[in-house]
């Protein structure tokens, strides 16, 4: 059952070939069998899942089921789930049981989806390898000695290994796309404002966006559809109708204009990965798309810009974790200052502390203009680059990551090397445009992802381009050994 697409699962459920309870049980069994090796879940919510499955079965029996009713999923542990621990991968929230549901949790529950559990992640989504999680690193199903990418490492490992048919994820600088690329999945980060951020624990508010990791563009389209839409509880969500993503998947690519940003094919891109991307470009040409070079001259400034903006916002967003109302509180403290210092010192891991310090520094009196304000100006230039590019082309195509998955521990001692993992993905967050990663081949037996970036709210066109490619190729259908 775990090799079926969401469409096939839905058809199976509706035809009563299997029940949601059986399907859920199947995934829970697989989690039991495989997750010790992968560590993709922080919390497995078996009882809750089976209760949701039963409710879904009742809806299916009553003929009231939608396209996702009865289908299990994993929720990244960054989304608040009422009554279920929501840790955000941090010791700080190890004992935090959210008192409310995130909007997307409410929406997906409402669609009848079954939550199997909460997926592992880098602490507060800060990381590119899932090695900063308080709950230990997640392993890549393609090679257990390698990282799955981050911060949505648990989400991708679970889906890649068939421990969930689909998972939610979030992307602040590449946290959906880079892990999707490293685990042979399709992951989409929609336009900023397309999916509500309410109930998603904030890392960098102006960059954070929720999305999906799935086994195909078709699967991703279904779940993204259910997650998207205006939310009055999120002032930055956009009041604009949601396109019919699944309905857009049949279109021909004839006449589609694809731009290859020359800055994305420069130094630093692994030749093996480059070969896969170039082959993919040929496939697109074969499908009728026209390809030309475009320039995003300010793209090389993405990483430094991001590492000012994101830590600045993070230092502010994480100020609420003070040990006073919820979360980790140090014991045996005598003064207020001690309470703050020790609760935060003990509750946050090293990477989170590093970013809080960077962020505090760049917002400090006397440094604000030189760092934060300057970064915002560069951000505008990056945005303008994309505006210009989308005047010439419909989609921008490039690599998602510089290379394939690296080994656990390889980059943990070198934060800057780790930060450079997101060199191709960050620009989309800074600009706010939708972007996705999809499998485009293998290098040294490991998956290579390519990235598509679209104009604002052009998710439908982007998903169709990914889908057409997946009709012509079978990379996305490959399974990691031992998990078939």
């Amino acid at each position: 059952m775990h090799t079926l697409s969401l469409k096939e699962l839905s058809d199976g459920l509706k035809a009563r070939r299997f029940s949601s309870r059986e399907l859920t049980r199947h995934y829970l069994d697989r989690i039991g069998a495989h997750d010790r090796a992968l560590n993709s879940y922080i919390t497995v919510t078996a009882e809750r899942a089976l209760a949701q499955a039963d409710a879904a079965d009742a809806r299916l029996a009553a003929g009231e089921a939608g396209a996702l009713t009865g289908i299990p999923l994993a929720q990244k542990d960054i989304f608040c789930t009422a009554g279920v621990r929501t840790s955000c991968g941090s010791k700080m929230l190890d004992k935090f049981v959210a008192p409310y549901d995130a909007t997307i949790v409410r929406k997906l529950d409402g669609a009848g989806m079954v939550m199997l559990g909460k997926a592992n992640m880098d602490e507060f989504a800060m990381g590119s390898s899932n090695e900063t999680s308080f709950y230990g690193p997640v392993k890549n199903p393609w090679d257990l000695e390698r990282v799955p990418g981050g911060s949505s490492g648990g989400s991708v490992a679970a889906v890649a290994a068939g421990l969930a048919p689909v998972a939610t994820a979030t992307d602040t600088g590449g946290s959906i796309r880079q892990p999707a690329a490293l685990t042979n999945l399709t992951g989409i980060k929609p336009t900023y404002g397309r999916v509500s951020r309410y109930g998603m624990i904030a890392f960098a508010s102006s960059l954070d966006q929720a999305g999906v990791v799935a086994r195909s563009a078709q699967d991703a389209a279904l779940v993204l559809q259910a997650m998207s839409g205006f939310d009055p509880l999120d002032s930055t969500s956009v009041e604009r109708p949601v396109d019919d993503y699944s309905g857009a998947l049949g279109k021909s690519l004839k006449g589609l204009r694809i731009g290859l940003p020359k800055e994305y094919f420069a130094e630093g891109l692994d030749p093996g990965a480059r070969a896969c991307i170039e082959a993919a470009v040929k496939v697109y040409e074969g499908l009728g798309a026209s390809v030309r070079e475009v320039s995003l001259p300010n793209a090389p400034l993405s990483v430094p810009t991001y590492y000012v903006v994101a830590p600045a916002e993070a230092s502010s967003n994480l100020a609420r974790f003070d040990g006073v109302r919820y979360g980790h509180r140090a014991e045996g403290v005598h003064t207020l200052e001690e309470l703050y210092k020790r609760s935060r010192g003990e509750g946050f891991g090293a990477e989170v502390q590093r970013r809080i310090m960077i962020g505090t520094y760049v917002l400090s009196h006397g440094y604000y203009d030189a760092y934060y304000l300057k970064a915002q100006k560069v951000r505008r230039l990056i945005y303008d680059d994309f505006r210009r590019a989308f005047g010439e082309v419909d989609l921008v195509l490039g690599p998602t990551a510089q290379s394939v998955a690296f080994k656990l521990g390889d980059k943990t001692d070198d934060p800057v090397a780790m930060y450079l993992n997101d060199i191709y993905t960050i620009a989309a967050n800074l600009a706010g445009i939708p972007a996705m990663s999809l499998p485009c081949g293998f290098h040294q037996g490991l998956p290579v992802g390519m990235q598509l970036m679209g104009n604002f709210f052009d998710e439908a066109r982007m998903l169709n381009a990914a889908h057409q490619y997946q009709q012509a190729t079978d990379f996305h259908r490959q399974w990691p050994k031992g998990f078939e």
Binding site: R197, A204, L233, S235, V324, H365, Y368
Partner: protein, 487 residues
């Protein structure tokens, strides 16, 4: 002291009278059980987001228009960071570089020391929207501190004046005027005890004629008009003493102690927080269209100054009386209602409202006469009494008696007049008969009067009024008595 001049600027935190908080649906009512009005947003739970309350914005714009300020087409919320247990998110959502209101003015009236008044215009630098913090409760927790977040997230506007104020008296005049205005506008309940209207005072001194400001201190926690006056006076004296003693003022925050009337240092500038302001990415810039601003302008009530001038002009009132009657919107409305319903002379109405009604309510100790007093004696009731004066049913003197009974809850004017038989005697024959009786009973006085002792006229008036239980029309008594006494 006379060589010195004080330079004062005031920061006023004014709670806006919205039903719910500035960024969430939690209630704002005062006095609830601790933390019963704290929802997820108020508590700063992970993942929650702020959504601006449109009413708070409308009220801030209303204030800006009322002080003739510029209302920003685009204003921005910023985060102000500091750690404190009653600040749930570790930052306060406020406004920094782009506030909603800038460059307004407020005119104040000052006693000129010779029985007259002078006018002065105080600049308002800016007013910005922000959320209130919660409260730390240091009592009754045996060594621990309790946190009540009911107040956290209550909308405020912080109104910052220019350093245009030169004395404690001016500061109080400014504050009272501001207080009157925000209550008039219906954007603040003005309750200073409950903290709805709070003031911090920036004070410095310089030798007269000096162009440069001295180093200032900020005194916090001065939450009544009297405390503001005392705190500023204390601070001015303290600073002069320090400088004259060869010392130097350090920039610091001071706390006013209402029990001692003194201010003492709370923290010096070096310890001040670096608030690390930056635009709040959870809230989009607020755009106020010209249409939106115009719609709010159209809804502005008549402002106190305008009303006062109109009262002077339309009702022929003295400036002082017009000032008292326009002191609050409710009192002004009350007065106009009395004039309208009674048809009596507007000045007479003013006298009754100011002297009799407010006097009586003061005596009853009803500070909030506006609410409680007006229920005791609604405008229609007072108008009913004045109508009987106007139509000469009763004299002004009898009216006082009726009013006493009214206050005591004995009913409306007509009922009291009827029950007590107080209808004025205007029938001349009845008055003449009373005069005749008095003259007959006082032959000695009559003879003295007729022999030129004019002063005795008053005696006869008194006797006639006594004989008629005060009900005789005084004009008629005067006229008829003169005729009769002349013989």
């Amino acid at each position: 002291m006379t060589d010195w001049e004080a330079v004062i600027g005031l920061e006023v935190h004014c709670q806006l009278l919205t039903k719910s908080k500035i960024f969430s649906g939690a209630a704002t009512a005062y006095g609830a059980e601790p933390n019963t009005q704290a929802d997820g947003v108020t508590l700063g739970f992970p993942g929650v987001l702020p959504v601006l309350n449109g009413e708070a914005l409308r009220m801030a714009v209303t204030f800006g228009l009322a002080v003739g300020a510029q209302v920003a087409e685009r204003c921005v919320f910023a985060r102000k960071h500091y750690f404190y247990p009653d600040l749930p998110k570790g930052y306060q959502i406020s406004q920094y570089e782009l506030p909603i209101v800038a460059k307004g003015t407020l005119d104040i009236e000052l006693d000129d020391g010779h029985g007259g008044v002078t006018h002065k215009t105080i600049g308002i630098t800016r007013a910005h929207m922000e959320e209130d913090a919660g409260k730390s409760l240091h009592e009754n927790y045996s060594g621990a501190t309790g946190i009540d977040l009911n107040r956290a997230g209550t909308p405020l506007i912080e109104i910052v004046s220019e350093p245009d104020i030169r004395s404690a008296a001016e500061a109080v005049a400014y504050l009272k005027k501001l207080h009157q205005l925000v209550v008039y506008l219906g954007i603040c309940d003005g309750n200073m005890q409950e903290g709805s209207f709070r003031c911090d005072a920036n004070v410095s001194v310089r030798r007269k004629g000096e162009a440069k400001f001295g180093t200032r201190t900020e005194t916090k926690n001065v939450n009544s008009f009297r405390f503001v006056e005392k705190a500023i006076e204390y601070e001015i004296e303290r600073q002069i003493e320090v400088i004259e003693g060869g010392g130097r003022i350090i920039q610091e925050t001071r706390l006013f102690n209402p029990d001692t009337g003194e201010t003492k240092s709370m923290r010096v500038k070096e310890d001040a927080n670096d608030y690390r302001y930056f635009p709040d990415p959870d809230l989009l810039p607020v755009v106020c269209s010209a249409d939106y601003i115009e719609r709010i302008r159209e809804l502005l009530p008549e402002l106190p100054d305008t009303k006062k001038v109109r009262f002077q002009k339309n009702y022929g009132l003295a400036a002082y009386d017009a000032g008292v009657l326009t002191g609050s919107r409710e009192l002004a409305d009350y007065y106009e209602e009395v004039v309208k319903l009674s048809g009596a002379d507007a000045k007479l109405c003013a006298n009754w409202v100011i002297t009799d009604l407010l006097g009586a309510l003061n005596k009853l100790g009803k500070e909030k006469y506006v609410d409680s007093g007006f229920v005791t004696i609604p405008a229609s009731m007072l108008a009913g009494l004045l109508k009987r004066i106007a139509d000469k049913t009763i004299s002004g003197k009898i009216a006082k008696e009726v009013f006493e009974a009214m206050i005591a809850g004995e009913g409306d004017a007509d009922a009291i007049i009827k029950a007590k038989g107080l209808v004025q005697i205007t029938d001349e024959s009845a008055i003449i008969s009373a005069i005749d009786k008095v003259m007959a009973a006082s032959p000695g006085q009559l003879a003295e009067y007729r022999s030129g002792k004019d002063k005795l006229f008053g005696f006869f008036v008194g006797q006639v009024m006594k004989a008629t239980q005060g009900k005789a029309n005084p004009d008629a008594v005067n006229r008829l008595l003169k005729e009769k006494l002349a013989g």
